[in-house]
Symmetry: C2
Subunit: 334 residues, 2 copies
């Protein structure tokens, strides 16, 4: 751990990283520095791995190193949120390209560590190596005392309602702004907020736990866009998921950015990824409990449609007609 490649510069980087990473759980029996970390377990481990590569998932043209570090951890924590698990530990493989300075590497680690601290996560191990591009693979382990309290993608049943937390389209709109879009009439505060949603996505850990307790039947985080993530949920559950596009909760300013780019706002919200909101299904009887749980976790719920027998995702316009989004024809089949 933290020790694969042994150039002196990498050893120094590893030592510097270790000094910046805090152990914030009594569960950590052996912290970083041994062959492996040892953690006192709770009954169920909930684990996900995600990678973030410069030029693929993030870009050093738009992201500061700290944004990259934040995003790499946020993606994994968002998976834990979608299961309703508590955050635990993170393990980080960090590939550093030539020309990426130690100062930049430490900024990146500080961005990750700040999110770890705020979410009660301990960065408990890692590996540093030189490579052709900046890349991070982050494994996050969360914990639960009861497997039945965790929510998969596979529990949606015909008759369930389809809901989503917070607002959508913000990350895609933020990316457009970072790439130079300047829509007329967009307030500076909205511009900043949209950019921040792209650069510093917030995993919805509290909302995920609250929704799980409130009785949601299936849940997934919105990483690929609501349309695609609804298709994943529909496939895992063996149902049809119907989403009314006009009910998508657009973040402030998304409509301005979309129109300036010649796109329908609802389409941007349906297909834009990386919002890291939670898409879920719940029986109608749980509707009020779900809304109360979301409010307690500091967020909102928008009800998008319903679950039917069948397969795939059906997107509907305001008149109830089926909408085919370019490039998303395969969702009906998935």
């Amino acid at each position: 751990m933290w020790s694969t490649v042994l150039t002196v510069a990498e050893l120094e980087l590893i030592a510097a990283i270790r000094r910046r990473v805090g152990v914030r759980s009594e569960r950590i029996v052996r912290p970083p520095g041994d062959d492996a970390a040892v953690v006192r377990a709770r009954p169920y481990a909930v684990t996900s791995i995600d990678c973030v590569i410069d030029g693929v998932h993030v870009s050093l043209a738009t992201h500061a190193p700290a944004d990259v570090g934040h995003t790499a951890l946020a993606r994994g924590l968002s998976d834990l949120a979608a299961m309703g698990a508590d955050a635990g530990e993170a393990y980080v493989a960090f590939v550093v390209p030539e020309g990426f300075t130690e100062a930049e590497a430490l900024e990146l680690v500080e961005g990750m560590e700040a999110l770890a601290q705020r979410t009660g996560t301990t960065i408990a191990g890692g590996d540093v190596a030189g490579g052709p591009a900046l890349a991070l693979a982050v494994t996050v382990t969360g914990w639960a005392d009861d497997a039945g309290a965790l929510v998969g993608r596979d529990g949606a049943r015909p008759g369930d309602l389809v809901g989503v937390t917070g607002t959508l389209g913000a990350s895609a709109a933020g990316l457009a702004l970072l790439r130079g879009a300047r829509p007329a009439g967009l307030a500076p505060a909205d511009t900043g907020a949209l950019r921040a949603r792209h650069l510093r996505p917030e995993p919805k850990l509290a909302a995920g736990r609250a929704l799980a307790r409130a009785g949601v039947t299936a849940m997934i985080d919105v990483s690929d866009g609501v349309a695609t993530d609804a298709a994943h949920l529909a496939e895992a559950s063996g149902v049809e998921v119907r989403v009314e596009l006009e009910r998508l909760p657009l973040a402030r300013g998304v409509a301005d950015v979309a129109r300036a780019a010649g796109r329908e706002p609802a389409e941007l919200a349906a297909t834009g990824g990386d919002d890291y909101e939670l898409l879920f299904t719940a029986p109608p009887a749980a509707r009020e409990a779900v809304e109360a749980a979301a409010a307690e976790a500091g967020t909102t719920v928008a009800w998008l449609g319903e679950v039917r027998a069948g397969s795939g995702v059906v997107l509907l316009d305001a008149a109830g007609a089926v909408v085919e989004l370019a490039g998303f024809e395969h969702l009906r089949e998935s």
Copy 2:
């Protein structure tokens, strides 16, 4: 999980991978396919992350895709071996460059899966993305029922003996052979065995558990070479580790390869990495128990030297004089 980047080709690859990966533990509550895997825990989780990058740790010029997959998992399992933990689950981030075919990717996964099967490991989750070079980050989680049964790097005490399992130098010699070295007099069987030690390093899980039970005080896997790994152990334990170079157990043929390259065989064995044997310390009273444990696990023990008060590694020649290896002067300080 298995779902970050959504080109159809990647989705097909993910589906193909899933079909090849077996769930081989009743501990797996939710297998790959959800936001995160859910695993029934034992009391202590033992976790390590390692990355393997084409051109850095492995090379497609010498490694078949299945060798890369094997090696990426073996490195992590070797960390679990060095703790004395049981193998559990693996989580794999798989970065696929342009031109690497789906057939090659599946070969790679099959190489990994074969080792997983043989060691009782379940590949329980992953992520696939396109990127600039073939790279794998593998997180392995092992389990233990008692934290006291696990062995760190930090338990070596003055008076302990220093031992190592199996034979050394084989991986470095195998790499030289793969790169075209043709030493006179090397038997074809030895050539094949040395190459295999480089391409398919075997994590010493059974030996690690057996040595932990037999009372070793500190343990590390030999990934960077005995000289460097002994320095890690010395630093973590706050002791001096003395290694007599002539006692290093050279694998068959290593001496031929070293001499053909104009190097001292013992130096190659001391500095060659990736042997994935286990370097450990044990009190003299545990000597016979350690030898018996190793024999029961199908391997041997060579006693290399002793632990003294002090710091760093001291390498000694047959006459008891201190040897300075070029490039390893820093070991005294580390």
